[in-house]
């Protein structure tokens, strides 16, 4: 299957499930709004009745951060870090939960409905959660490789008098990390699809088989993901760029900009759902083809079954 065809089919599926967009957007926004509201509340507590707020609103001044830090004794680094990690973890778990529902619709070609979606969320959550934990181990392995490469560079160039080799090596490491993390991401995605499509409860075994699958079909799979990651990056860059260009000089302007940026957030969510949907299409197609090409047809149709 071509990437274009997978995308075309994916678009059709995602556009049929507008309720999914809303659910993913609402969950992300809710989790994001919590720390944003907490930080704004701190700002309001400090500046709510201060004439300085207007000046700071036009141009943020580090001195105010210094005042806050002084008021709170010192920068509460540990609680802030804990809160950040907590928010990140909550968001990840929520997204994992929703992923189960989305895959239930995309992988099993069902129509979007609350019962189907949330039924899928509940049914698939624990297997996806275990899969995520296994992938965390693989993630640690990637970081281990990265750390090893870093240590090697330190040994070779660390005592030198030039930063250039270390910087260039850093770029190489970053590229390799991206490749490995991207691959890991693909393994996670396709294992998740497999677990849901086949109603499989053994993520560990599926994970290793998906290694082979992603390796064999790396070009198609990675190409599809790359297209959608480029779209996501473009939307993110557009959001950053428009924020820098568009002056926020009135409440109206802020709200207009917020609306535009929310549109871009929805666009990013759409592209993410499109990734899932297209991956399901792609996987189904490759699996079928693998099954047909096999000299001895597998006992059950579908590549997933051949992998199982």
């Amino acid at each position: 299957m071509t990437i274009r065809l997978a995308l075309r089919r994916g678009v059709r599926v995602v556009n049929r499930a507008i309720g999914l967009w809303f659910l993913f957007y609402a969950s992300l926004t809710l989790v994001a709004a919590l720390p944003a509201a907490a930080l704004t509340a701190i700002a309001f507590h400090s500046l709510g009745h201060s004439a300085w707020a207007e000046t700071l609103g036009r141009r943020l001044n580090l001195e105010w951060i210094g005042e806050l830090a002084a008021v709170y004794g010192a920068m509460p680094v540990q609680p802030v870090m804990a809160a950040a990690i907590g928010a990140f973890a909550i968001s990840a778990v929520v997204q994992l939960f929703l992923l189960g529902g989305a895959l239930e619709i995309f992988a099993k070609r069902r129509w979007f409905g609350a019962a189907t979606f949330f039924g899928g969320c509940g049914r698939n959550f624990w297997r996806l959660f275990r899969l995520a934990l296994y992938c965390l181990i693989l993630l640690a392995a990637v970081y281990g490789i990265d750390a090893g490469l870093g240590a090697a560079a330190e040994k070779i160039w660390g005592q030198g008098t030039e930063a250039t080799p270390l910087i260039h090596w850093g770029w190489f490491r970053a590229a390799l990390d991206l490749l490995l993390l991207g691959w890991l991401n693909l393994i996670f995605d396709y294992t998740a699809i497999h677990l849901v499509a086949e109603d499989n409860r053994k993520p560990f075994r599926s994970l290793w088989r998906t290694f082979r699958f992603t390796w064999t079909n790396f070009g198609q799979i990675a190409g599809l993901a790359a297209v959608l990651w480029i779209i996501r990056l473009a939307l993110t860059a557009a959001s950053v760029g428009i924020t820098q260009v568009f002056p926020q000089l009135s409440v109206g302007a802020v709200l207009v900009l917020l609306l535009v940026r929310q549109g871009l957030v929805v666009g990013r969510i759409w592209s993410r759902l499109l990734l899932y949907a297209s991956q399901c299409e792609m996987y189904d197609e490759i699996a079928e083809a693998t099954a047909l090409a096999s000299p001895e047809p597998t006992r059950q149709p579908g590549a997933w079954r051949s992998l199982a």
């Binding site: 300085w52 141009r59 001195e63 005042e67 959001s239």
Partner: protein
Amino acid sequence: MSDQVVRYQIGARLDPAGKTITGRETLSWRNESAAAVPELRFHLYLNAFQNEKSTFIRESGGQLRGDTMSKDDWGYIEIKRMQEAGGGDLMGAIRFVHPDDDNADDRTVIAVALPRPVPPGGTITLEIDFLSKLPKVFARTGYRQDFFMVGQWFPKIGVYEKAGDRYATRGGWNCHQFHANTEFYADYGVYDVSITAPSNYVVGATGVEQSAVEDPRSRQTTHRFYQEDVHDFAWTASPHYIRIERLFDPARAVTPAEAAATARLLGLPPDRLRLQPVRMILLIQPEHRWQADRHFRAIENGLKWWGLWYGAYPYQTITVVNPPYGANGAAGMEYPTLITAGTNWWPGREEYFVEGVVIHEFGHQYWYGMVGTNEFEESWLDEGFNTYSTDKIVDMVYGAGYVPVHILGVPVSEFLGVPRFTFGEIDRLAYLQYGKHDPVVRNGWQYYDTFQYGLNSYVRPGTLLRTLENYLGAPAMARIMRAWFERYRFHHPTSVDFEKLVNEMAGRDMTWFFDQFVFGTDWLNYKVGSVACDPFEVKLGSYAAGGKRIVIDQKAADRIAKERRKRGERQLYRIVVKLVRDGESVFPVEMRMTLDDGETVNEKWDGRERWRRYEYTKASPVKSVEIDPERKILLDGSFADNSYVTQPAALPFVKWFANLLCWFQMVLP
């Protein structure tokens, strides 16, 4: 220009393999006091790095300015021979002393008992052979591969303070041990130093290079540097340096308008601001070569503005050293006519820390170099003054810049839209973390910790000097600073001298300012305690009038109010404002109240009471109350509580919430 108490003639040979310097020093020292001096004292700074028992390592834990000292290659200095010229051997007369603490293991100061005291006005000449072993770069000095930054490297005589000098009540040596939080103090003199290094090495040093003579057989070149009227000598060598030299030409660098504006500010005729050409020498790493223009522009701005504001740079050269990767311990340091800069692989175009470091270190040519304050005992007089001057120049010439955020060596602040900040803002941010532990003036090793040393030496003085400028006015402050330079150039003034100068030049007693903010530890914070604004209403109750009692109930009150409005009487408001002095320190403040109809009311409060109440009857409700509305008192611990607006501004909070929301939406999974 200076009284040239010392004269050093040193021959030094660098051994790049052994990381050592073999030196022969001839030192002449003149006794300026009226009493005979029976003993000499010397700094042996490199011994701070010889083992973990030194005071320096004990205090620092082997860490300084984010740098960790290598424990596999120690630094030290050994005196191999010391004798009086034409006299006897003095090796037996040497003993290690530790005047600042009880650390008998510290070997950074020696006392040499003389067979014959140096008479008043007399001069003694010593011949000293020494071996200096450099540590891996740490705390300003050392080596990294074939890069050598050679500072604090030779036996250096202390300062003999006669009674009346600085705080001395009787004659004695001011020769402190080397501490983690201290820098240096020395007498002015002449340095004539010959450095022998491999011929492929580029050598830079304090002073003007007189000659470079190569011995083709040994492939060694001897570079001779000479400089008068300085109090230290440092040098650097590396085969990788790219040496670039340009001329600072005042006629090109200073526009007539700039000269005229500065002359007006200082109240001086423009010809008093004449600067002289200076050879600017940059020793830069090959991978930083593309940053050469930035370094030169920065040093030009230093030469120009320090020269215009305080007085012309009198030396012929200024050498800027760019240490290589991994030698950060040698970056950002000042020596007479030689400074070390600090940069990274790719500094962002509008990150001005490269410029800030160059300008700051150049500024030390004035505050430490020519105005030779004691960095051991009053570090604010060089670092604080220099922070103040650096902030003024960088913020004026370059404006607000980005805080450096680098990912994989690439500056990303500009792309991420991170807000920009001035050096002044960053310094006040740091000042606000002052924990009331120490006064500004204190021996460097006696601060609560290294953070408090830095805070009280750099940012708190910088902030207090800017507050002083705002209080006295820019012209008065500019004239004070110029007088400070002109009066104390090549002398050793103190904080008390500066206080006297301020009182004299300002024409008023500023002792209260110095007592609180330089010699004291108290905190300053004024705030708006409360603002009440109530419309005058008909008061309910029973009133005696015309021999009978009238009861005003709510109905009657409403009727009276309605009649008043019909008659066109304006609604009046009773406004009560309470200002509070939250900190212990006292500072005269201004208060500005703005009403809804645009009327403003200004008050001046001497700030002495704990709080002050102001009451007004006005025809318009209050809109805002602000203490120090122009934010001149930068020492105030909080600007946020300096004002009260009755209607909070919605825009900033809506904007921040919207931006934070979008940012979190972007980064959360």
